[in-house]
Amino acid sequence: MKRFLINVGVFIIVFLVVNHLLYYLPFIKRKDYGKIVPKVDETHWFVFGDSHANRLVPSEGFKFYKYSYPSDNIIDMGRKIRYLARNEIISSQDTILFEIDYHLFTPYRTSLNNNDLSSFFVEDFFQRTSYYKNLYFPLFGDKRVISKNSIISLIKGKSSLTEETQKEATKVELQLNTYADSSRINRRFNQQYSGYTVEQKFIEELGQLIEFCSNKGITIVFIRYPLSPIFQEKLSTINLDSYDSLVSPLLRNGTVLDYVEIFDSNKFFIDGDHINPLGAENLSRIIIKDTRKQ
């Protein structure tokens, strides 16, 4: 028995240590997540959202701090906002560009959530416990330390981080074509919208966030990001009553920028629902124009 316990114990300890080391490997760790950018100028815009918001790139004409991250959900976004407000990085002069895409409120965003690798935005004991659980025992958590795609990409000889960085850096007109074939688009759409329903926890979080920002004097501008014409067509067949009845009433007192149907060409998209650099440039111009009108 003693021999068994020692062998199994050593195995588990070594395993946890290696898991921890793997977490810090540069091609696995998503370093860009969780960095707190100190305020260096008079920029007052902060962008929060998932991969859709993440396509926006700050420019001379449209400066903002980007705190969006792929697969963030409303709760992740809320946690970040509260943390930044508590540390006075966001204050009463600032405006938050807050994503309210339809899919953000669905169970899809519970099951496909990001790899929450940052402890920066962890607020209380329970969240910290959850953070360490996800870090050391991701098998049992809602989130993983290392995404499946990372290791699949690793096997293929490239990391998804590099791929993502390259996409961001390449200023060519990547058009919706072979990268996003129809079955992939169908798959993405079905994952997000099949049997559309909203989750109460996201509604509650949004309501509390609006109240929180209101108390702090922070302005929130809500935004729905563009969808490709194929996605728009598919979305028109979905019953969004639950969104209209539960989410829309919360948005009544704020500004809502609805850009779902703003682009009528696939040339602005990298796939069915993510804009490419060209789309990002155009969208930035539209956002500036629309917000100046307000």
């Binding site: 068994f4 195995f11 099951s111 098998l139 049992f140 330390v145 499946k148 079955s183 992939r184």
Partner: protein
């Protein structure tokens, strides 16, 4: 409680600790403790059904005693009929009531009637098919005088409710498990290490192979009308590995967990996708269920003793009943019938007892003939799995039509293929053992299972833990 959950990861070490450290050398206390934790394990899913489980167990316990103590054959038979009738009655009500109502209504409609039957919103108690079969084998064995009943309530209940096998098997026999429950158990290092290896290997098969295949297989089956024929073929292949990884993974975790407690359960899978014929496949797939049907249905019906006609009839009988056992849907019955059809050539030419050894027993790689045989067997099995997975017979037929009629052949869904290749490579080199690297240098063993653990963490699909398919049966 799922084997692939944090709850079980805490539950099993806790049980292990109390069982070996606090209750060691006290068999009665150990058995009583295992019984309590087995009920907790079952009640974790839905505590209300613990009462049904307890009733079913009590029924078989007392039926066994009454059958044994009855003075006349007639009385024995009455008790057997009562026990079998009530057991199958529960199973029929919970599992098949709606199916029979719907099918009967469909039949009446085809005859021109307009029936108005109400179906019930029934929750299927998890594991009911498994623990019912445990109990049935016990009372039938007593009736035929193969075993004597136990008069120890705790021992009998533990035989039926032992948590590793309670919800999805293996389907145990009293002749195998009861003696182990009744005799003192001692901790054996080799047995416990084998158990740990088997648990890790089972988790790998379930989490890495089955759950990743499930994502693509579900997508293809749920949107089969839009898929190319290439993708439809891949869907059938991915589902074949999903169900194998899922169920054999579950069985491995069950066997491994039992071994940690010093109990050996029946082997349920023996590398079925390395089979050279369908007959061999069925000797290696869900072994405990197939041997159950052989012993309690096929042989009582006359087995293969009465000529070709009887062999054909009995083979169809066990496969159709086996299909129906899996679920209340015509798809399962057709799946069973299709497998019976596959068995016909070997039954008629009496070649079904060929290939009893391990493939390529004395060589590293298979020869061309063996490769063709294994490939053909896999294709036949995968084709039948389409019916098993499809929502309805119509869905299965349109899926199969899509494979042959769609003129698009492009394959876009290939992600889990690398995992399947990895699984089959490991299985090939482990085919003579129970688990990979069963006996080797300790460093090699530790390294191999270490990598498996890392892969489990790396390649686990995101989201909640996916339930085991066989829980629904």
């Amino acid at each position: 409680m799922l084997f692939n959950s944090l709850t079980y990861a805490l539950f099993l070490p806790l049980v292990f600790f109390v069982y070996w450290f606090l209750l060691n050398r006290n068999l009665k206390a150990q058995n009583f403790f295992l019984l309590i934790v087995s009920y907790i394990f079952y009640g974790w899913w839905d505590w209300r059904f613990v009462f049904l489980l307890a009733f079913s167990t009590a029924l078989d316990y007392f039926s066994g005693i009454f059958i044994h103590e009855s003075k006349t054959h007639r009385r024995k038979k009455i008790w057997l009929i009562i026990s079998v009738g009530i057991n199958l009655g529960f199973l029929g009500f919970f599992k098949y009531y709606n199916f029979f109502i719907d099918s009967f209504a469909d039949l009446l409609r085809t005859l021109g009637f307009q029936p108005h039957f109400e179906t019930l919103n029934i929750i299927l108690p998890v594991g009911i098919s498994f623990y019912t079969f445990h109990g049935l084998s016990y009372v039938i064995d007593i009736y035929y005088g193969k075993i004597k009943p136990t008069y120890n309530w705790v021992n009998y209940t533990l035989f039926v409710c032992f948590f590793p096998l309670l919800v999805a098997g293996p389907i145990e026999r009293a002749t195998h498990l009861l003696p182990q429950v009744e005799r003192p158990r001692t901790f054996k290092y080799s047995q416990a290490m084998l158990g740990i290896k088997q648990i890790v290997w089972g988790l790998f098969k379930k989490i890495v192979v089955a759950d990743n295949c499930a994502i693509i297989a579900n997508e293809i089956f749920n949107n089969s009308a839009d898929q190319s024929s290439g993708n439809l073929i891949m869907g059938a292949i991915f589902f074949s590995f999903q169900i194998y990884g899922d169920f054999s993974g579950y069985s491995d975790i069950a066997l491994g967990s039992a071994r940690l407690l010093g109990i050996e359960l029946l082997k349920n899978f023996n590398f079925p996708y390395l089979s050279r014929s369908i007959a061999e496949f069925w000797r290696r797939w869900h072994i405990s269920l197939n041997t159950w049907f052989r012993d309690y249905l096929y042989i009582p019906l006359g087995g293969s003793q009465g000529g070709n006609w009887m062999r054909i009839r009995n083979t169809f009988a066990i496969f159709l009943v086996s299909g129906f056992w899996h679920g209340a849907n015509w798809t399962f019955i057709i799946w069973g019938g299709l497998n019976a059809l596959y068995m016909m050539p070997s039954m008629l030419f009496k070649t079904n007892r060929k290939n009893l050894n391990v493939v390529a027993e004395n060589s590293i790689f298979p020869n061309v003939k063996e490769i063709i045989q294994m490939f053909t067997t896999f294709l036949l099995a995968a084709f039948a799995w389409i019916f098993f997975r499809a929502e309805s017979v119509g869905h299965a037929i349109s899926y199969i039509k899509g494979i042959f009629i769609n003129n698009r052949f492009e394959i876009t869904q290939t992600d889990p293929l690398i995992l399947i290749v990895l699984l089959m490579t490991i299985e090939w080199f482990s085919r003579k053992n129970e688990v990979p690297l069963e006996k080797s240098q300790p460093l090699y063993i530790a390294s191999f299972y270490f990598i498996l653990c890392i892969l489990i963490l790396f390649l686990k699909p995101s989201g909640q833990n996916i339930e085991f398919i066989y829980f629904q049966f």
